[in-house]
């Protein structure tokens, strides 16, 4: 099967400063990959580059093929047909990722309408409404009537992230890019959102690119991880192997930190 997202020799720089250097990896349909690294390691840049949404002041070289279409240097019109269809993104901060002046029902309806029109179907009000309710159901949001008529600031952070996920799902993308989707949430909500993402990815069979600085979080939802440091991929492999036998010192510190954190929780928690 051909790769859904094929990144080769990707280098991203602003001015002379490289943000990502010679990064290569592929994601096949249905595959779940984690991109790990601390802030500033180039994770989010890679995600934005994959959808062709980096500002023009940032130079991208190398090759990114998304669903058979070259992204680097592609016209915005071409990319617009690809965005949503091939890839959808869930962002870190769900409050700022939602339009503050648009009711949640309408925000979810937007991508639904676009997808229905794209598929050649008639996007009737009823069809869109049904689909919106369906999505709200899928992401397990309570009180759909209230949620649909609420503004983003009127619901909780976890609920907002569920809304953002519903919007991404509305596109029925082949790959979901989740850029630190649980970082802005508290630990309990984080676990719930992870479970939801995991379940949705399994149900729909879409591929997942999960970006995080948090190794244990990534390990829960992906099969393979790539560790980024200062824009270089320093380690790559199945999540179990990287976790149990990390090669690179940096990965070792990440694993060690996570283990210590878990232990600390274990001793004080019970």
């Amino acid at each position: 099967m051909t790769a859904l997202l094929d990144i080769r020799g990707l280098t991203i720089r602003t001015g002379d400063k490289p943000l990502v250097s010679d990064l290569s990896f592929t994601i096949r349909p249905g595959e779940r990959i984690g991109l790990i690294g601390e802030s500033g390691s180039g994770k989010s840049m890679t995600a934005m580059a994959a959808t062709g949404l980096l500002p023009p002041s940032i130079a991208v070289t190398g090759s990114i093929t998304l669903d058979g279409q070259q992204v680097v240097g592609a016209a915005d019109k071409v990319m617009n047909r690809l965005r949503g269809v091939a890839a959808a993104v869930v962002f870190q901060e769900p409050l700022t990722a939602l339009d503050p002046l648009m009711k949640i029902g309408r925000q979810i309806a937007e991508p639904v309408r676009r997808r229905l029109e794209r598929d050649g179907g008639t996007a009737s009000k009823d069809a869109i409404g049904r689909e919106v309710r369906d999505l709200i159901d899928k992401v397990a949001l309570p009180q759909p009537d209230r949620i649909i008529n609420s503004y983003p600031h009127e619901v909780s952070g976890g609920q907002r992230q569920r809304v953002a996920i519903a919007m991404a799902l509305a596109c029925r993308p082949k790959i979901l890019i989740a850029d630190e989707p649980t970082t802005a949430l508290d630990v309990t909500t984080q676990a719930e959102i992870l479970k939801l993402l995991d379940q949705l990815v399994r149900e729909t069979g879409m591929a997942l690119l999960f970006i995080s600085h948090d190794l244990p979080v990534v390990a829960q939802v992906v099969e393979r991880v790539i560790v980024l440091k200062n824009g270089f991929a320093i380690e790559e492999g199945p999540v179990g192997t990287v976790f149990d036998k990390p090669h690179h010192d940096y990965t070792k510190t990440l694993v060690e930190a996570a283990r210590l954190f878990d232990e600390a929780l274990g001793t004080t928690g019970s």
Binding site: D76, R83, A97, E110
Partner: protein, 283 residues
């Protein structure tokens, strides 16, 4: 009810008061303006009264120095004021918002050029600009006044739109919307315009008030609507010489002007609270 909810509802009540008063003031003006299309107490050109008569049952606000009924003049002035305000805002909004949105998307150089041009236009006194337009069209009419004021307003609106749109375009939800395949045009209509509308609409109301005052100034200078179109500005100018003998001739149009401008501002205040659902949130 928790204290937070109480304060929110108290705020809502206060704002709905502003809205009510604004609606009443603007509503009176609007009704009078519509009424003059069908009926006025006297023919506006009828100079049958005595000169500078004091208010009486026949002439509720007295007469002007030509013996015309002042109330009739004042009522027709309301129509002129509304026409000028609405016309100037319509022209200013159409040109200004379009230019501002384009500037927000422009490359840095084009943006700088536009910003500088707008700043120069804004620095140019509105009345002087209006006089130029009037001079260029070789006769003063209500429409040249509206066009001139509309152009002056468009520069202010364009600059404001540009700044507001740029700020919205930097928001995460724009990127989020783009990742799901929204085109730039879609972004403008679905996210940018709704998000800048609350601020813009206040500015429109403010500009409306200023346009009404500017038209009064133009008419005062004899550059507004020529007679027989009554305008508050010209009423003021005509009453100038007789302000000590017949003060009502100056007071009445002055009060009408103030009432309409205040009414517009209150209305804008109230409308903003309806347009912006996030107000009343404590951050």
């Amino acid at each position: 009810m928790s204290p937070v909810e109480t304060s929110v509802s108290a705020r809502k009540r206060r704002h709905s008061l502003a809205l009510t008063v604004g609606l009443v003031l603007v509503g009176i003006n609007l009704s009078v303006a519509v009424l003059t299309l069908f009926w006025t107490p006297y023919d506006p050109l009828n100079a049958s009264g005595g000169r500078l008569e004091a208010p009486s049952l026949l002439h509720w606000l007295g007469t002007d120095r030509l013996g015309r009924d002042l109330l009739t003049q004042l009522m027709i002035g309301a129509r002129t004021a509304l026409l000028v305000g609405i016309g100037a805002i319509a022209i200013g909004a159409m040109i200004g918002v379009s230019l501002g949105v384009v500037a927000a998307f422009a490359t840095r150089l084009a943006d700088d050029v536009m910003a500088a041009t707008l700043d120069i236009l804004i620095a140019f006194p509105t009345l002087l600009l209006a006089m130029l337009v009037v001079a260029a069209s070789d006769s003063a009419s209500l429409w040249t006044a509206i066009l001139a004021l509309g152009l002056a307003i468009s520069a202010i609106v364009a600059r404001l739109t540009r700044i507001l749109a740029k700020r919205v375009l930097r928001q995460d939800y724009i990127v989020a919307s783009r990742t799901s395949g929204t085109s730039w045009v879609g972004v403008v209509f679905r996210h940018v315009l709704p998000n800048i509308w609350p601020t813009l609409s206040i500015n429109f109301a403010l500009q409306f008030g200023l346009a009404v005052i500017a038209e009064a100034s133009l008419s005062y200078l004899g550059l507004g609507a020529p007679p027989p179109n009554a305008s508050w500005g010209r009423l003021l100018q005509e009453a100038q010489g007789t302000v000590y003998t017949a003060p009502i001739g100056a007071i009445a149009p002055g009060l009408a002007l103030v009432a309409l401008v205040i009414g517009m501002n209150l209305l804008a205040d109230g409308l903003r609270d309806i347009a912006d659902p996030t107000r009343g949130r404590s951050r």
